[in-house]
């Protein structure tokens, strides 16, 4: 069973399972033994059952710009990804530090602009960010929390060190896969858990609800929390329903809400009911046609007025996307030093700034060795994997970058770590990343509920679900 094929460039990246000498790492050894004991045929039968369960539960995602039926089952790999308590402890500290700094940055850019005035981040970069929301200038948000929920994407470099690949400070998704993956794996392959004390993930919804209640505008003893979804056609609709159900809050669409004299209400069969906190899974642009995209038929008219008046809390805050603009990413270590007077615990991936003419020239001349990303896109859309692109693709991309350098950054290709993965009945090494979620309420917490995404194609370094990625159950071991 564990006759794992080495990945194509085995020595150039870190392997989660094997040490350099070819022996399994100690924390994987019991798992390897259990898999052997269960045997290949039995595992394949269980995989079948697990996949059926996922399909029945509707664990799907939507691929935009895909003509061949948009709803797909998110591929799940049954071999868990294991993280030791030591590794997790460091990640937890690093993420808390990072999110604290990002939140301070958001408060700063919408208030006194200290970090801009003192010249640590170019003003132009912030003002030209598509997600810098001018309506938020001088607006105070409840408890000064902007990033209630964030997803910090990490990868391991060649030496196994976790690096931050990107921050997601708007409406990061993926937690539903974490919850569902654990559930189906526990039912489908309970034996795997036999020798491990794995941190539970199922208290995530309760912890999220705590955060949401904490930011309710002062005066609400029993705050009314709702989850605002754009509706059934959204790619993460499954997640919205799951979180609303597990938190025990109402799932609403924009048309269910109404603003009356600066107060938000939900329409119920018993009349209007005041809303204190909105966990919104709608982009800023579509929240309120009175202030944002006027052509939007989505949205809650007057919501910005209620928000500005302090009568409702939104999670995440409007305008928090400026913190995860990929062109601002390279300044996060600087933010940590500036706001916290600390050294960053987690390092960034080196990043080229295309607005700098010299760096732009370097990027354009070395496209075949770089990953180029659109600064405002996510989900792997609009990126170029230089080494794997055709010359023609690179040429076309170069033109786009040169025309609008502010919209792009470039990074060297980092060889993600590989993890044992079941593909067509064989165990093979496939590349993985890690997205832990941070919750910011009374304090910043990083629940041991992280999403591991896996690139199912051999040699692929792109783990996004929209680009043929799958997911794994992620085990954070108890200390």
């Amino acid at each position: 069973m564990l006759d794992i094929q080495p990945a194509t460039a085995a020595l150039r990246h870190y392997d989660e399972l094997y040490e350099a000498g070819g022996l399994p790492r100690p924390h994987y050894a019991p798992l390897a033994a259990t898999l052997d004991w269960i045997g290949r045929d039995e595992i394949m039968a269980r995989v079948q059952a697990i996949n059926t369960a996922l399909l029945l539960r509707g664990v799907t995602f939507t691929v935009y710009a895909d003509s061949a039926g948009t709803e797909r089952v998110f591929p799940f790999d049954v071999i868990p990804r294991i993280i030791t308590p030591d590794e997790w402890g460091r990640l937890e500290r690093g993420i808390r530090q990072r999110v604290r700094a990002l939140n301070a940055f958001l408060h700063d850019v919408y208030h006194s602009e200290r970090i801009l005035r003192e010249g640590h981040i170019p003003r132009e970069l912030v003002y030209s960010s598509k997600n810098y929301n001018r309506e938020m200038i001088d607006v105070d948000v409840p408890r000064d929390v902007y990033i209630h929920v964030s997803g910090i994407d990490l990868i391991r470099d060649e030496r196994g060190e976790f690096l931050v690949l990107e921050d997601n400070c708007r409406t990061p998704s993926g937690i539903s896969y974490v919850l569902e993956n654990r559930d189906v794996l526990k039912r489908g392959l309970p034996d795997l858990f036999r020798d491990y004390a794995v941190c539970p993930v199922d208290d995530y919804p309760a912890r999220l609800l705590d955060v949401l209640r904490y930011v309710a505008p002062t005066g609400s003893a029993q705050p009314n929390v709702v989850l605002l979804t754009p509706g059934i056609y959204n790619s993460a609709y499954f997640e919205h329903t799951l979180l609303a159900r597990r938190m025990g809050v109402e799932l609403v669409e924009p048309r269910d809400l109404i603003v009356v004299e600066n107060i938000v209400y939900v329409k119920t069969t018993q009349g209007l009911e005041r809303v204190d906190v909105i966990y919104r899974r709608i982009d800023d642009d579509y929240l309120d046609p009175l202030y944002f995209n006027p052509d939007s038929t989505l949205g809650v008219t007057g919501l910005m007025n209620a928000y500005r008046a302090g009568n409702v809390a939104l999670a995440n805050a409007i305008g928090s996307g400026v913190a995860d603009d990929k062109a601002i990413y390279r300044f996060v270590p600087e933010m940590i030093r500036f706001y916290l007077d600390e050294e960053p615990i987690l390092r960034n991936v080196p990043t080229f700034d295309c607005t700098d003419p010299a760096q732009l020239q370097h990027v354009l001349a070395n496209l075949d060795q770089l990953v180029v990303k659109n600064t405002n896109a996510s989900g792997g859309y609009g990126m170029l994997m230089g080494p794997y692109a055709t010359a023609e693709e690179r040429e076309r991309y170069a033109e786009t970058v040169a025309a609008c350098p502010r919209d792009f950054i470039a990074q060297p290709v980092v060889q993600l770590s590989s993890s044992p993965t079941l593909v067509d009945g064989r165990m093979v090494a496939r590349r993985v990343d890690l997205r832990p979620f941070a919750l910011f309420g009374r304090s910043i917490e990083v629940p041991p509920a992280a999403l591991t995404r896996v690139a199912l194609r051999d040699g692929s370094l792109v783990v996004n679900s929209s680009q043929g990625g799958g997911s794994k159950d992620t085990w954070v071991l108890q200390a």
Partner: protein, 287 residues
């Protein structure tokens, strides 16, 4: 000068509408050039007004009318004392070098870049060629830009709409004050001179100025050492004590006097009436 201003906006919706949310930029500003001593808004059907100060320092009100209605009337009544001279000095001291050295400059990003209605289109570049290259004395140059727009554009209320961009006004060489202001802002910004949009009123007086029958609009340029200087390309005037400033922004979109969203048919009739009068007592004092 002291003025009273009545600004009435009325909508008639033949098919009835509901849940109408409206934002107003109608309250004259108080700054070192003018002082708003009275401001009252009447809305019919009755609505509760809410207020805030936006990021440009404009006083904004908003209200909502939820039940079905077929008309909406907003009457803003204000009294303003203007303190500028009637014949203000030309901004002759403003130079490019003073502007480049100005410490405020990095904060003026929004007034130096494109915005919804102000785009640096190829047409702007073509228009540019008709003008002198901006010399060091940029204050004088701004005056020339204003004059050139005044001389080469026709004032025509049929040529454009409130949603027209700089491109449309330029191609027709016609428009109203809003278009002239947008064109001038586009030229100034693309020449690296910070420029912003001002909405307000102009007092007709004895002279035949344009734009007095409704809201007026002009352009302000940031010209150290003078600071923000108002240019009215519609009348080729430097802003004087006949101008009442209501709101400033990047362009029309930031400061449209009445903006709203409602539920119902798009079909609506709108009328606007503006009356700017000199207060009798102030007139006597002047004599």
């Amino acid at each position: 000068m002291e003025y009273t201003i009545d600004h009435q906006t009325a909508y008639y919706y033949p098919d009835n509408v509901s849940e109408s949310y409206t934002v107003l930029h109608l309250q004259p500003r108080s700054d070192h050039n003018q002082f708003c001593t009275r401001y009252v808004v009447d809305v019919a059907p009755h609505a509760q007004l809410h207020a805030y100060v936006d990021r440009f320092g404009n006083e904004v009100q908003h209200f909502a009318i939820l039940p079905s209605h077929d008309r909406l009337s907003i009457l803003a009544h204000s009294t303003v004392v203007t303190l500028l001279e009637s014949d203000p000095p030309e901004p002759v001291e403003a130079t490019r070098s003073l502007l480049d050295a100005d410490l405020q400059l990095p904060r003026l990003y929004d007034f130096m870049n494109e915005s919804t209605f102000v785009r640096f289109t190829p047409e702007i570049e073509t228009f540019w060629r008709e003008l002198d290259i901006p010399p060091d004395r940029i204050g004088i140059w701004c005056r020339n830009v204003s004059r050139h727009i005044h001389e080469t554009f026709a004032y025509d209320t049929e040529a454009t709409t409130v949603r027209s961009t700089v491109r449309e006004a330029l191609s027709r060489r016609a428009g109203v004050c809003q278009d002239f202001a947008h064109v001038m802002i586009a030229v100034l910004r693309s020449a690296g001179v910070p420029a912003r949009y001002v909405s307000g009123y102009i007092f007709r007086g004895e002279s035949q100025v344009l734009g007095a029958e409704a809201s007026h609009a002009w352009c302000e340029a940031y010209l150290p050492p003078h600071g923000w200087i108002g240019f009215d390309p519609t009348n080729d005037l430097l802003v004087n004590d006949h101008f009442v400033k209501v709101a400033i922004g990047r362009d029309y979109r930031d400061v449209s006097p009445v903006r709203g969203v409602y539920r119902g048919s798009k079909h609506a009739e709108m009328s606007v009436n503006v009356a700017v009068d000199v207060l009798a007592s102030a007139q006597q004092q002047q004599q």
